[in-house]
Subunit: 339 residues, 4 copies
């Protein structure tokens, strides 16, 4: 019989419930042994639905549970620090969703705790596990496009978030909240960034200005190597969820992403049409599953984590740099962003 990792899952919101299904039934390497959510009845329901033996309203109790060998954290960002510190205290292998925290200071504290305990810690950036992004990375490493020179990435949500969610005090603002994925990809594909400039505006949903957020932005990146990058973000990609990335190299280019959800074309008078991708869950469902499976395999086989707290820290730093560049109107040196 296959050896399985006994996982405890903290956070049972929309993504948390998807993780519950993944950990309990779709990933051969895991067994879901406990779930926790401050809303105790939710924990109880999810436990019943997926045959999970234990459920908690207190996440710390789950971390303490001796039956739990590894922890998966998919809670609101402001709770990440406390939970990671608790897991570090018990040296339980931990997977934590992005972003690591909302301030560089908090992430530094998490980084310290992880380093001191020597625990296994894997940061969640699911795009790296998407079939398209993974294949793009392989093609580049195989030399198919020569030397990578320019990084371009676009992220568009099909509608705006709630004003409560969008509030930069909790989300960090669009350049952090949405941009962190693209900034992580920028580092993954082309290495560290030296400076960032950015423009942004509240032009699609004026009401977002009431909470201090923007809805469209462009950030330009100059890498430490001298290479160039550009990220554009939008909350108003009304046609559908659209995530696409290009790495232009000296011998070719790779383009990652797709716009079509269903294998159906409808051709009517003078028109050929297909649908689009509704939202992130449809686009990245398989990537989420693959990411958790990768976490379990890493822990079971004692491999080092492919995405560390440093990746979370540096992507956040780029988001903070872009936010300041947008606010100040001048290019920002990434090295100067320290808090």
């Amino acid at each position: 019989m296959r050896v399985r990792l006994a996982v405890g899952l903290i956070g049972l919101g929309r993504l948390g419930r998807v993780y519950a299904r993944d950990l309990s039934g779709r990933i051969p390497e895991t067994r879901l042994v406990a779930v926790a959510d401050p809303l105790g009845s939710l924990a109880e329901d999810v436990a019943a639905e997926f045959d999970v033996p234990r459920h908690y309203s207190d996440p710390l109790s789950l971390i303490d549970d001796a039956a739990v060998d590894a922890v998966v954290i998919v809670t609101p960002t402001h709770t990440h620090r406390e939970l990671v510190l608790a897991a570090a205290a018990r040296r339980k292998p931990t997977f934590c969703e992005k972003p690591p925290a909302l301030s560089l200071g908090e992430v530094a504290a998490m980084q310290d705790a992880i380093a001191r305990s020597g625990m296994f810690f894997q940061m969640g950036f699911m795009r790296r596990f998407d079939a398209g992004y993974a294949a793009g990375k392989r093609e580049i490493e195989a030399g198919r496009i020569g030397t990578p020179l320019v990084f371009k990435s676009t992220s568009r949500d099909p509608f705006r978030p709630s004003l409560e969610y969008a509030n930069p005090k909790s989300s960090g603002g669009m350049l952090i909240d949405m941009g962190i994925h693209d900034f992580d990809l920028a580092r993954w594909f082309l290495g560290e960034v030296r400076s960032v400039s950015a423009i942004g505006a509240t032009i699609a949903y004026p009401e977002l200005a009431t909470v201090g957020d923007i809805d469209n932005a462009v950030a330009s990146l100059t890498f430490a190597s001298g290479k160039l990058g550009v990220v554009d973000l939008s909350r108003s990609g009304i046609y559908g969820y659209d995530i696409s990335t290009e790495i232009l190299g000296s011998e070719g280019t790779v383009r990652i992403g797709y716009l079509r959800e269903t294998p159906l074309m409808v051709l009517t008078k003078n028109s050929v049409a297909h649908d689009t991708v509704p939202y992130f869950m449809e686009r990245f469902r398989d990537a989420y599953t693959t990411q958790l499976q990768n976490f379990a395999q890493n822990v079971l086989q004692q491999r080092t984590p492919p995405i560390t707290i440093v990746d979370g820290l540096e992507a956040l730093r780029l988001g903070v740099a872009a936010t300041r560049a947008h606010e100040s109107g001048v290019s920002v040196s990434v090295a100067e962003i320290t808090g």
Copy 2:
């Protein structure tokens, strides 16, 4: 807690193991309580891997097992009749993979048994559950293309089967073995077929001629309504697995299918390229899962089966008609195919 259907699974080959994962972990409405395979050690291994409480080398024992509320049959075609008859004797709701059998006579016997027992029986034609085919059906029913007029369908495997598999004595020959899916779709989209003509040849793999099979074929269909259809089949779609269907209507057309597996484009000197779909499991994995989920929901909610033994019978009849049309060189009236 959700009510689940206690399913027994018979047949643990490639597709059977996928079904084991689906039934044990991916489909909320099912619980996999028993597995059976003549190769007893395989049944034991699969049971261990998916935490299935019981395993059998004798499929009839699984059908007899009181803990098994419903049966899923994914065994070689020549065993279908005996298993369906046994399940009918116990009135256990049954799902059976296509084709129902290799002769019209065998199917008639199954049909009788099902009718007499009044059992729930659902035939497997997974394409009907594919997101593209399902969406195409909805669009047509919504009137998007006016009146459907012409059915076109192409099925291509990326390589030939083994000579043993291809032997018409066991496979029925390419026009039945591959064509049955397209013939089922023809009936689903445009209704009953009046006559069939067909041409075929062994031109890609001469060795297939040694067992009496062909590797490429074209069948033309005239529907009872006077509408037209054409199906082309190939074992030599070397570029990738390619399943596509078009329904041309009086106001437009729908095209179902896709050629691209990974959301990645590679652009090199004067070329834009992407990958293709490797094989049926990659193309229809979600459709297989959805189909089994539909079966479980139908049984639990006492709905009538969307695909019956008659659908299996009639699709097989078209395959037999096409085979005879190819062999004789003349158009064959479907109504005259009775055994």
Copy 3:
């Protein structure tokens, strides 16, 4: 200064006027020295518009004109024989639009006249000069798809012709009128055809039945080499003009054709859409020009014609065979079609 061929153009309908522009201004190797049309005022107008020195209402006078070195015939099909015979009598290099004639007997007479006079004669099948078809041919000849095995071709008009045009007495019926292009391509790509079967129906425009024509059809081809082909035709491709051809080979496949006219995509809520090709002139305009240019170059450089009267004859024979196969319901041996 470049040597130019002094061309006389007969027939000034829609396509004829396009040819007038091509011959007078777009093709470096030609000079348009005379135009003719039974409607004399039209000939006069076209001559004025394109600065053509001479114009005739009698085509035979144009052929007789000593200033005319070569003749381009783009008149109604039933006039082809007389004009080709007249040109043959004067041994003037001649280009004639497809189809060569409406009966095999007429074509045989033209073939005899051409052979006896030893004149240069080039048959018009513009698809062979389309960038896509030409590139497909090159790729196949370069071995990119291994051995060609199966030919598939689809032709769809975006609307039906007038009842007057559609009448099989003048058009030959859809399997000849539309199919002749696909039959020519079949021969060009895979060689001679041994037998043809066909089905057809009047299902989109019932009024076509009043003149005896059909509006949708499928023809299956078995080549002399044993390879297979299928052609499907429709007058009801309501979404746009759609011409596509595939040659499936042992190592790959080529697909020729496109559906998109303008380089514009419009993405709105849940939809990605583009336009389609309006009609044959938009799709094949460049091919028509290239074909006439090729004719002029062939004459000037004394090259043999790439498409001969035999190509016209054999494509017509396939159309006649398909028509008879459709009418009789049985497969027709091409060799038996002699008149």
Copy 4:
């Protein structure tokens, strides 16, 4: 007979010869009555090839020629001012290729001369006449995407220019030489620009640094309306010539551009591939013709020019602003660029 504009063409390089063909044979509204090039033998050859009655080595003599009713200038940029001033002195309707000049001061002088003489003057920006760009404009004006919010444009050459050409002293540098098209489109689609920031690097062709040019760049635009824009440019689009533009609006988005030249797909083992567009002449040939035809129609029908010297001036101003933003590393206010 159609009234035609008697055009004199100055400049017979690569594009000039294409214009010679357009003006002499492809555009019904024009007659090419004179050509001029400092290389007199070239002028003589082109005149012979296209049956042009007069040819000059001195462009000013062509402008003086009483048979010349309108002038088309397609000479090196540094000569534009003198030629436009000469045409203005004679009030001859003039079409001049972009960019108008290499310095804002020179353009101001041209602007003055045009205004004083009251002559008809049309600036060349052929992309506005491309079927895709024109259709995109129409769709936006018809409200298909709601309010335009974000402008994105990409221009990529498939190889670098010669070092001589690239030298910013003659080309203005990449942000002007290539960017001027995208900056013109930015203004056309979203109006005036308030500020520009830019990054650039010499990362693909180090040798370009020896003449002071870059090979990749990103410019961010903030429009006067508060809307956003981004332009990225590359000399190393090695896969093919790639021009694409998107306008994201509140209700949808339009994407203009295409990557495929020939209507052919080649599918081989696990790959689907097509070709790309070789270079600007293949991509915009029809746009060039349409643009000249538009010029002739405007003059003949006394319409006002759709693209004026102000459009040339402002697009150049954005190029200069972007160049300075790149050099200084700070955002540049467009209004401050005055010389």
